[in-house]
Symmetry: C2
Subunit: 346 residues, 2 copies
């Protein structure tokens, strides 16, 4: 399938969403898109690339790759408190069988556009090129001036919150034996592996962990709900310690976390003993939850706002003046983690 | 060098330009950039990826890759008549020797930021990831509503213009024996290859062809000058026939070109006999000139506006009702090209 046919196929499916928004003057198909931003808002722009064999497995499903490539960018916008609006997509595909390529693009578009539709995000441009499988997405949204959740806004005494649960995606990576995760002591929880025949509850838990890894839900509604209430925010993509560490460095503060307060899913509890669980909650990436800080006086307002946004969240620690991130273990012992999780290059 | 060090190195060099613009509320270093678009303008957004071995040679200089990855996107904005403002950069780098990677990033940033500075474009975000060498850039600019040069706006009777000269980058690709170009009959014009000792004029011509390929100059000033004068516009990235073909399809028209009017550089004339020259002018990509259409009555105004923008341009044909692109050869014979140049995938 020629490049234009690939583009045309995606374009046709993207057009309805672009039309529905009313702010896309010209979408896919020209040298650039023409967009009408709302008056009095700041633009919020995020770009992230997913590469085969690095950010997703060689045998990952096309639809999951499509979903996740948009999700990680919407998660960045959510972490700023932004309302997503538009995106571009640059898709590099290996040469080879035209039918396989077309099938990949169709599956990819299914996942990508399903998530786009959920958040009313219009795909307005991009390109397809030949090369190793790689996806680069740029997402653009809006926020009221001064209301963005920046990394550099945490204050000493702020409570540290996190949405949802932590360590789920990391557990799925550990189950798959992915480098950097294979040393975590996790156990398969699906019935087949346990040799116990069909175990629908365990199967469901296992499927849920993989769903967390493959189809993360960007916390867009939560990010919007936190404007004016939270101070600093970030999404948990590299792992809680690494990402909270970014907030601390940018804000010139430190943090103390309470290990017992870290939220755990039932599936995580089923798959891990306490040590592995804590390690995955603190160091596992790819959960795409929001970590944010807020003055303690905002606690009730935040709880109400997040409940209205249908997003669970808990307080997991506090911002302190002393630099670095520390963890108070269940026995009261303080533990200072190493830098593991910070390094993308070896 | 860890990802953060790479980002920090680029960030420090990009900060001055972002500060100077005054519309970058938050640049590199958070989940997303915060930008203040001017009131009453449309946003113009383009995304393009360059992959090693596809869009640039395996041994391409880092600085040239940096320059070109931004240039192709600024060229897209220029083809819309837009004023460029901001960009994001997603850089995938292979694992390996940390010093070599750091040296690559430094050279890459040199080229990228040199071009960015020329056009006052601020690098405001992006990421670096591990993967096969690949560069994805998104460029954002502005245009007055209704003034963009779209592909679908050509009218029957419009004159077809092109800036600069055509076929230069294609000649450099042919000299290098790049696939798709190696069948063009070009001859080396540098003195050494001709066996004639030092020939500084020929050396300069050869160097100029390579400069056209490696450091294309996006026609930003010309695109701005054409607002309100030209109707349809596109940049010549895939080759004149292919790109003018896009205008014709989008506008529901056809085109007739005059082969004798196609602009040729002295270097092209030195490297090619008439047949190869015409083939490269019509089919060679990577020149990043602007091709645009305008009513004949605008001819003088356009000539003045482009002269003020220091951009040479000539009329090379006319828009006709009959679909397709035709070429009138020097002997008056009409030639209808094949679809060559349209296909990015085989």
């Amino acid at each position: 399938m020629a490049e234009f046919d690939l583009i045309a196929a995606i374009r046709a499916r993207a057009a309805a969403l672009a039309d529905a928004r009313g702010d896309v003057a010209l979408g896919i198909g020209d040298d650039a898109a023409l967009l009408a931003p709302p008056a009095g808002r700041q633009l919020v722009v995020a770009t992230d690339t997913l590469n085969r064999g690095v950010h997703f497995a060689d045998d990952a499903a096309a639809g999951d790759i499509g979903w996740k490539s948009l999700a990680v960018n919407l998660s960045d916008l959510a972490a700023m408190g932004a309302e997503p609006a538009w995106c571009t997509l640059s898709l590099s595909l290996p040469d080879g069988d035209a039918r396989a390529r077309a099938a990949f693009v169709e599956g990819f578009a299914d996942g990508f556009l399903e998530l786009a539709a959920r958040h009313r995000v219009a795909l307005v441009g991009g390109d397809t090129t030949r090369g190793p499988l790689s996806v680069c997405v740029t997402a653009i949204g809006f926020v009221e001036p001064g209301w963005a959740l920046r990394r550099d806004a945490a204050g000493v005494g702020d409570e540290i919150w996190v949405t949802g649960t932590l360590g789920d995606a990391g557990t799925a990576l550990a189950l798959d034996g992915i480098e950097g995760y294979r040393d975590f002591a996790v156990r398969r929880i699906d019935g087949a592996d346990a040799g116990a025949g069909v175990d629908s509850e365990a199967d469901a838990a296992s499927a849920w962990l993989y769903q967390r890894l493959r189809r993360p839900q960007p916390r867009v509604a939560a990010g919007r709900a936190l404007r004016g209430l939270a101070r600093a925010g970030i999404d948990v993509s590299d792992g809680l310690l690494a990402d909270l560490g970014h907030i601390c460095v940018a804000s010139g503060v430190g943090a103390c976390l309470d290990a017992a307060a870290l939220p755990a899913s039932p599936a995580l509890l089923a798959a891990c003993a306490a040590d592995a669980r804590r390690a995955l909650q603190l160091g596992g990436g790819d959960d795409y939850e929001l970590c944010f800080t807020a003055p303690a006086r905002q606690r009730d307002s935040i709880a109400r706002a997040l409940a209205a946004a249908d997003t669970p969240a808990v307080v997991i620690g506090r911002i302190e003046a002393e630099p670095g991130v520390r963890v108070r273990l269940a026995d009261g012992v303080m533990w200072t983690p190493s830098k593991r999780g910070y390094q993308h290059f070896g």
